[in-house]
Structures are given as C-alpha cells and as structure tokens.
Symmetry: C2
Subunit: 201 residues, 2 copies
DNA sequence: CTGGATCCTGTACAGTTGTACATGTACAGA
DNA sequence: TCTGTACATGTACAACTGTACAGGATCCAG
C-alpha cells in the first residue's frame, strides 16, 4: 500500500482508455469499409459516436491514428493466436490437425470481412511507413510462431521455414478470398490442402 | 466517311493516347509510393509532368482515374503473362520448370517494388468497389491460366484447382516479400519450393 | 485556306479536411 | 473544500482538393 500506487485500482488504464479503444475500433471499421483513403477525423468520430474534438485529444495526428490502429489490430491478433496455441485448440491428433488449423486461421475472420480488409490495408501501409514496421513484424512473428508450433505437432521438418511458407501462403489465400468473396467452404478446403502439402515431408 | 473509316490510320489510338497512358503510369506510381490515399489530381499531374487541367480532361473523376489505373495494370499484366506463355518461356524440361516459373512470376516485379505495391493496393480496392471487379477478375484469370499451363507441363493432376492454389500462395509470398523487403534470393527459393509442393502428385 | 473536332490548360471556387485552442467538466488527493 | 490533472468538445480557420469551365492551340478533311 505504501510505495507503489495503492488506491488506484488500475493506473495502467486511465479513464479515457475505453473511448480510445472505441476510436481505434472505429478507425479499423472505416478503413475496412473505405480504405485508408477514407480515414479522416470526422468520419472516425462519427463512426465511434463521439464528437470531432475527441479525435485530436487522443491522437496526435491522422497518421498517428492509423499507426495506433495498426498496433491495435496487430496486438489483438497476436494475443488471440497465443491464446489459441496455449489453450488446447491444437490438441487433436495429427490427422485432424490440418482441418483444425485451417479453422483457426480462417474462422476468426470469415465473419468479419471488413476487419480482414482493414488488416490487409494496414499491412500494406506498413510496407510504406517505416514507423509501422515494428508492429507489423510483431504481428508476423506471432502468426509464424503459431504456425510453427502446429507444424511441429505435425512432425514437419524444418518447421521455421515451413511456417514462413505457410504464413505467406495462407495470407495469399485469405487475400484472394476477401477480394473475390469466394465461398468459405472452398476456402477451407483449399487451406487444408495447402497445410497438408506444406507440412508433408 | 462513307462506310467504315478508311483514311484514319489509327482510329483506336486518338492523339492524346500517349498522354493518357502517361497519366495512368503516374497514377500507378503515386499509388505505389503513397497508397490510394495519396492520389489527387495535382499529385498525379505533377508526377506525369502535365498541367492540372489534363487530369480532368482525360478522366471523369478521381475514382475514374483509379479505376482506369487498375484496368491499365491488369491489362498489362495479363498481356505479359500471355506473351510469356506463348513465347517459349516455359519450354524447358520439367526439372527446370519450377525455377523458370518462379523467375517469371517474381522477376518481372523484383525490380519495381513501387508498381508491385500499387498492384496490391488496387487489388484490395477492387474488393470494395464492384465496378473494379471485372478488371480484377480478368487479371486473376490470366494469372491462373498461365499457372495452369505450367502445371499441365509439370503433369500435375487437377491443374485448375492447383492453379488456384498456386496463384493465391504466390500472391501471398510476394505480398510478404514486398512488405518485409526480404532478400530476392530467399523469395525465389521459397517460390520454387511452393511450386514443387503444389505441383506434386 | 477554312471549319470543326480534338486536344489542352490556367484559373476559379465551393466543399472538405487537419488541427489548434478556448472553454469547460469530472474527479482524486490534500 | 480547494486544486491540479486528466478528460472532453464546439468552434474556427488556413490549407487542400475535386471539379467546372472559358478560352486557346493544334490538327486534318475538304
């Protein structure tokens, strides 16, 4: 109680944290629906249901807003994958693992095309803005570690390289899916085949 | 005048065609460097070295400009792949074909990161704008037909499905490459492995 | 040469957008 | 209760952007 902050229940979560998060979610939705070109203070504020002034209170600039939005989704995805990995999502036999893996990778996104589009948009933006690279790289790393773990369970050789390959391939598959709005069942079947082929000795 | 135009040597290429193309190329460069968000009449005009007024003369609107830019790159890519396929680019033995194929897919892009970024940006935009879908689909189809032809040469079963899989996977690999600016030699080696695995019986 | 079509461009302007800031309000600690 | 700090927002404005358009240059058939 003495020394470090005692009475404050949550010094890491200042009062405005919820609103800040709401603004970030709104930014992601705006990007998903209209691309980064559609991001402006007024659109984001309206989407979040807050007044215009809030956007300049929580973010230094428009670029900052986009940068935080990337960190936001990257952090969320990384955490989700870690949780999925530590929880027993992959604890099925090697025969079922490819299906299970495909579901984990796909399912979380299948329902939310807008967020998925925003993720690609932000990922692409990170190719152009060096300040966005660290967050994008953490995201990538979490994704690959997740896949590597699965590949190890499948007994695939050189799992690090295979994870790289699988990460990129599945990304492409998902991009194709989101662009063409293909049927989810087709996507799943293609993902499973891809996983099996890349895991094969 | 009577009947079909006789004297006109090139009724399909009106006088301003070159300038129009220059504007489209400029648009692609602007997109590649700053995303679709960076596209505005003045930036494109400056990039093309033409006055502002030209942009409104050749395009109905900013959206139209972006749409034509997508059609421009899609058409160019489709033609390139068809030419590559009909010229003997793939006429090597099945042992060398994967390497050759990887080179064709990669090499044309390796040198021009900006154009590649623009292509992804535009492809993503086509996921949001229905009017861009036809061009994006023609692009996709040309890409897949090229890959299918190669897969047939490799004796892969179900080449249509495999081409779909390979198309998406290579796209993902390239996206990863362009985002992380990875070494081209790594990219090539990964692409070859992917081709071999997807072509395998 | 003439007339008309096409090509071209500088300028103007209304609408939009990023951002600053003055003016508050809520709340924790003294 | 007082006070400082974080939270909040309406308003203002300079800069930017899309687009219209008047007027001019160039070309070519007749």
């Amino acid at each position: 109680m003495a020394g470090a902050g005692a009475t404050a229940p949550d010094s890491a979560a200042p009062r405005g944290a919820a609103r800040r998060r709401a603004l970030l979610d709104a930014t992601v939705r705006v990007i998903g629906r209209g691309g980064i070109a559609a991001v402006d203070h007024r659109a984001v504020a309206a989407e979040a249901g807050v007044p215009l002034g809030s956007t300049t209170y929580y973010f230094d600039s428009k670029d900052d807003m986009v940068a935080r939005a990337l960190e936001h989704v990257a952090e969320r995805e990384a955490e989700r994958l870690r949780a999925e990995s530590e929880g027993g999502a992959l604890d099925v036999g090697p025969y079922l693992l490819p299906e299970r893996l495909a579901d984990v990778v796909i399912h979380a996104w299948a329902g939310d095309r807008v967020t998925l589009l925003a993720q690609y948009e932000l990922y692409l933006e990170s190719a152009r803005r060096p300040d966005l690279r660290p967050a994008a790289e953490r995201w990538d790393r979490a994704y690959r570690e997740f896949l590597q773990h699965a590949l190890e369970l499948l007994g695939a050789p050189d799992p690090s390289r295979r994870a790289h390959l699988l990460c990129a391939s599945l990304d492409g598959l998902l991009l194709d899916h989101v662009a063409t709005a293909s049927a989810p069942s087709d996507l799943r079947s293609l993902a499973v085949e891809l996983i099996e082929r890349i895991a094969a000795p």
